[in-house]
């Protein structure tokens, strides 16, 4: 169980019943298969990806759940943002197929061996994968749509507050 895993890997306890393990990307399949054989963590609940643009990496968290559904283990893999590619987990977990398909579309990560990485939620998307940090959704919206006249909240709040304060001050001074 968790004691067994702790013997072999450096497992951190993040919260009650939530553990974390950081591994290298080239050992991913090996370690996950060993975890699923040797421990109770048999299910893949989620593949969560975070874009750490300042470190130039994607951090992928494979969240595993036990057979009893009482503990969660986050297995973190860090891969380069530029040539992002990982082996697929399709053979271990069938549900990985749709999760990888989702991440492929949202981040452009290539999962080697998964041949179903076609369109998931978007249709005819030609821009940068939208969940990458460099994709600016506001700029995209401003370029492709125009807002209805009177939609005032499409403004930088800080600048607007400053402007109003200055305006109020001016009118006060004027009096």
């Amino acid at each position: 169980m968790i004691e067994f895993l702790k013997k072999h890997y450096e497992i951190v306890e993040k919260a009650p019943r939530l553990y974390k393990l950081q591994i290298e990307s080239d050992k991913l399949v090996e370690i996950l298969s060993s975890v699923s054989i040797n421990s109770n963590f048999i299910t893949l609940s989620q593949i969560a990806c975070t874009d750490w643009i300042e470190d130039e990496v994607f951090a992928l968290n494979y969240i595993l759940t036990t057979k009893e559904r009482d503990k969660n283990l986050m297995v973190e893999v860090r891969i380069s943002r530029v040539h992002c590619s990982l082996p697929t987990l399709l053979n271990l977990y069938p549900q990985a197929q749709v999760m990888e398909r989702d991440l492929h579309e949202m981040y452009g990560i290539n999962f080697r061996g998964n041949d179903t990485l076609y369109d998931f939620a978007l249709e005819n998307w030609n821009e940068i994968p939208p969940l990458r940090r460099e994709f600016d959704t506001l700029a995209y919206v401003n370029e492709h749509f125009d807002f209805r006249i009177g939609r005032e909240d499409n403004k930088d709040v800080k600048a607007e507050v400053k402007r109003r304060k200055a305006q109020a001050k001016e009118s006060k001074d004027g009096k």
């Binding site: 978007l122 005819n124 939208p130 506001l138 919206v141 749509f145 807002f147 209805r148």
Partner: protein
């Protein structure tokens, strides 16, 4: 009638937005009767494009019972008079909504539900939802709110019936037919080459 261009239509819209502008339609008696029947019986195609779909079951069921007003749901666009666009439209949905709208038979009306159809609402900075529904489809009635309550929806239906019965505003489908270039241009702007078939293509066999 406005010119068949985008600028001409925008000018026309500005005029329509003006409070002082109101259509003084004179209905003949036959036309009045026809409009009365059209207002009294509405077949609704409730396209659940977004969250607004959750308030559809309450209004069609026993608490609010909109069937009292002659409003019933139908399954296919062919038989529907009213298209309810219930909530935000993503690109992918909008294409299907336009397709459904063009399959409907005239006279047809569109009800836009929720703030997101009016100005993007909560998703104003989302890359995948449209901001103004009336750029792509002629909307006859907007019901605002996030979500609009069932009472608001019923009020919207009553107002629309009133508009139809007394010919208070020019129906959207006429605008769609006459200013098709405007709508087409907007649709093509976001869909590119993947736009739905043109109005003429859809209606090629109509007058044979």
């Amino acid at each position: 009638m406005p010119e068949n261009t985008q600028e001409g239509f925008i000018d026309q819209q500005k005029v329509l937005d003006n409070e002082e502008y109101s259509i003084k339609n004179t209905q003949s008696i036959i036309q009045k009767a026809v409009d009365w029947f059209r207002a009294r019986s509405m077949f609704v195609l409730a396209y659940g494009t977004g969250c607004g779909a959750i308030e559809m079951p309450p209004i069609f069921t026993s608490r609010y019972d909109i069937e009292r007003l002659g409003v019933v749901g139908v399954a296919t666009p062919r038989q529907a008079d009213i298209l309810i666009v219930s909530g935000y439209c993503s690109y992918k949905t909008l294409k299907r909504v336009i397709r459904s709208y063009e399959q409907m038979n005239e006279p047809k009306y569109v009800i836009g539900l929720g703030s997101c159809t009016i100005n993007g609402g909560m998703y104003w900075d989302s890359y995948n939802t449209i901001k103004k529904l009336d750029e792509y489809l002629p909307v006859d009635m907007y019901i605002n709110g996030c979500m609009p309550r069932p009472e608001a929806l019923i009020e919207g239906f009553v107002k629309l019936q009133d508009n139809i019965r007394n010919a208070k505003s020019e129906a959207g489908y006429i605008q769609y037919r006459e200013n098709n270039a405007f709508y087409r241009a907007n649709q093509e702007k976001i869909f590119g080459k993947n736009t739905t078939p043109t109005f003429e293509e859809n209606f090629a066999g109509m007058n044979q």
